[in-house]
């Protein structure tokens, strides 16, 4: 067959099929009644919401399957509002679908490209305008304008300078000093080694100097976790071992990855786990990272006891705590 390949032809829009409500006046009346019922239900729901708002006390709770203990005030106020809106919507949709014209209409679409003549005109105008401004020839103007515009963007940046102080050495320092007592959080009580049993964990903060207040930004760097193991369980080098006291080891509680509180301690495996991104630190090996995205161990705080037998810091942290930043040197 030498016939040209022929695609299937477009048979055109299918013939319109009338709805029942178009041909049967009874069906149309029925649809009208249904729409009206939906709108009335909506109005009733609004009254339910108003009734709940005024008359249902907000301290009544009752049990609902799946949802558990539910507040009656909140539930009926919400249901009233929800159904008042839903029934309006359903009524309108039902109205549009059954009673409004459903004949499909065809509208023409035109290509966006203008006729060639108009287009050439337009292109020529743009070229002329650009030429009239002289940007092509007068490159001095172009360059200095670029300079001015570029430089002018600096003003808003400079204006934002006072958003905050410069970081300075702030990220490196914590409140821990030589001899700072470890106090419980909460409670602010100093701790003796015998307060902690083997296997126990405690969150501590540095004791406040008289007249000082503890801010959240202090806690964000000062929070320390105390863990007591049997001394034989440590696998530490002599220096790090000397930073522990009687099986008690102290780490910064602020994750070395992104600064979350490393609060999950697995007593069996002696692992510390950060719930944010699951960096896992081995307590027996100076909080070495054994899993997860953190690249550094948790900084260890050297501790000992003072003359009165309370746990104190031997020295400040020897490295910045918390997440990494550009100026951090290791």
């Amino acid at each position: 067959m030498s016939k040209e390949i022929q695609k299937f032809q477009d048979p055109g829009l299918p013939e319109h099929v009338h709805r029942k409500s178009d041909v049967d006046p009874k069906a149309a009346d029925r649809a009208e009644r249904q729409v009206a019922i939906l709108f009335v239900l909506s109005a009733l729901s609004t009254f339910l919401a108003i009734y709940a708002y005024i008359f249902i006390k907000d301290d009544i709770f009752f049990f609902l399957p799946i949802m558990g203990s539910t507040n009656a005030h909140q539930l009926f106020l919400g249901l009233g509002m929800a159904f008042s809106l839903l029934f309006i919507g359903l009524g309108m949709a039902h109205w549009a679908k059954n009673l409004m014209p459903d004949t499909e209409v065809i509208a023409e679409r035109h290509e966006f490209r203008s006729p060639d003549e108009d287009r050439e005109d337009f292109v020529r105008t743009v070229k002329e305008q650009a030429g009239a401004a002289g940007l092509g020839r007068r490159s001095l103007i172009k360059r200095t304008l670029g300079l001015a515009l570029g430089v002018s963007a600096l003003t808003p940046i400079v204006l934002l300078r006072d958003l905050g102080p410069l970081p300075g050495k702030d990220l490196e320092k914590t409140s821990w000093k030589k001899g700072t007592r470890l106090v419980t959080d909460p409670g602010d009580r100093p701790i003796r080694p015998e307060d902690l049993e083997v296997g126990a964990v405690a969150q501590v903060l540095p004791e406040l100097e008289p007249g000082k207040v503890r801010h959240l930004y202090d806690i964000a760097k000062d929070a320390v976790l105390l863990i007591r193991l049997r001394p034989s369980e440590f696998q530490l080098n002599p220096e790090r071992l000397s930073w522990t006291h009687d099986g008690i080891i102290a780490f910064s509680k602020i994750c070395s990855h992104m600064g979350c509180a490393v609060a999950l301690y697995e007593q069996q495996t002696k692992h510390l786990l950060c719930p944010c991104h699951q960096s896992t630190f081995d307590v027996t090996r100076a909080a070495k990272v054994i899993f997860g995205p953190s690249a550094r161990p948790l900084p260890q705080l050297a501790i000992t006891v003072d003359a009165e037998g309370y746990l104190v810091a031997q020295q400040p942290f020897n490295e910045p705590v918390g997440p990494s930043y550009w100026e951090r040197s290791s």
Binding site: K3, I5, Q6, K7, F8, D10, P11, G12, L13, L77, G78, M81, A82, F83, L85, L86, F87, I88, G89, L90, G91, M92, A93, M100, P101, E104, V105, I106, A107, E108, R109, G164, P165, L166, P167, D170, L171, Q203, L205, L216, I219, A220, C260, A261, A263, L264, P275, C276, Q278, V289, G292, P293, S294, R296, P323, Y325, W326, E327, R328, S330
Partner: protein, 530 residues
Amino acid sequence: MKKVERIGGNVASYVDDRTGAAKWLRKNLTKVFPDHWSFMLGEIVLYSFIILLLSGTFLTFWFDPSQREVVYEGSYEPLQDIKMSAAYASTLHISFDVRGGLLMRQIHHWAALLFMAGMIAHLMRVFFTGAFRKPREANWLIGVGLVTLGIVEGFLGYSLPDDLLSGTGIRIAEAIIQALPVVGSYLAFFTFGGAFPGEAFIPRIYTVHVLLLPGAFLALITIHLMLVWYQKHTQYPGPGRTEKNVVGYPLMPVYMAKAGGFFFIVFGVTALLGAVASINPIWLYGPYNPGQISAGSQPDFYMGWLDGLVRMAPPIESYIFGYTISWNILIPGLIIPGILFTLMALYPFIESWMTGDKEEHHLLDRPRNNPNRTAIGAMSLSFILVVLINGGNDIIATNFHLTINQIMWFTRIGVIVIPPLVFVITKRICLSLQRADREKVLHGRETGRLVMLPHGEFVEIHEELTPAQKFTLTQHQQPKALLLPATDANGVLNPQGIKGKIRARFSQAHVEQVPAPTESEAEALEGGHH
């Protein structure tokens, strides 16, 4: 003349007397919109945005965006006499002491989730049907901008109550800022007005959340809709539908009623969720304290994939000349999302470059008829799904009795292996579906009716498709691959160089299709049968 018609006529004359817009208004009131359920996805986004504006305004009447320390004395007993920020205390006040406050908070949060979910669904519809092609590239770009801003807006919104969960999220955002090379610690101090957490962040993001970003949304959504209006909506292929027409219902009255009704339905559904489904019960988390955390800390779903990426990152940092570069934060937190969103934004231009297609398109593709694009979309989705699974690894581990390590390693390997596999499988499925279409057009639909012929043979009756069905299944374009010119006019070998080669290769992959059956083929078969 009916009364309503007379009033309508008067209103129309009143408007025209003062604007002279009769012609323009008439044209636009009868503007035709094609009908399809998938065109409602974008509507859901628009309506949830309006719900967000309304419910959000209600919340601002009581919310106090301040990190000033106060002692809670409201009616929620477990937190009484506890120190917290004014932001957290006022959120508790809204939840327990303002009637309808908790309902509005929950509607606001559910509407935000719906807003994001709707945008993603709408984006997928536009991608898989090729609605982003010329002349709608600009609208695609605006859409990508809206998704990006939506993620930021949602994050800022759930950060405002300053509870333990959201404060942890802010801490992570701070760590990402701090990890930026050179300027990181400076930017962090400027953003937070000093050391983290400070007292400046919540008031600042409040202005951004309730003024700056909603304003940007309003502007972008307006342009988005004006472009849809001006360029006219795309339509699915079918009998009577061409590149040159729009088949559907007029704006007045059908679409006004349908769209208006749909707004109330969306609002009603979010209100229903707000009434019965508890979300973000901040009173259970407690006020933020950087030394505390709760297990199972999870962001909202549209942030979950980012968290999953951060979780699976290998622990790499470089220390160069005394400075630190945190690859474990920069790569998953900024570089990969940056690449993904750039590729997504540029996709219309990439596809047009690969295929050499510079035509206008108003008829949508059935996803199977563009196997390469569909496979690219499915591949991207599978990537996001794998990292999202890792973002919930702790929750999955406790619910399915797995270890976090198993899930982490599954997703670490999966994120590299699964997307290419999904690409290949999706492409094969599309081609198989095309083959099935071809089969249907040429041999009819399998009816499942078996008939025994007089000589004992069983045959299944195949029912011939209607001309409309045949047309719908065969109308799609079957583009040809771009050919790589071997030599140019002067005899130079491969004049387009490596770029041309890559392009030709892409184009070849893109045109891989099962040939659509034609009338001629059907006739030839007919002749053979009888």
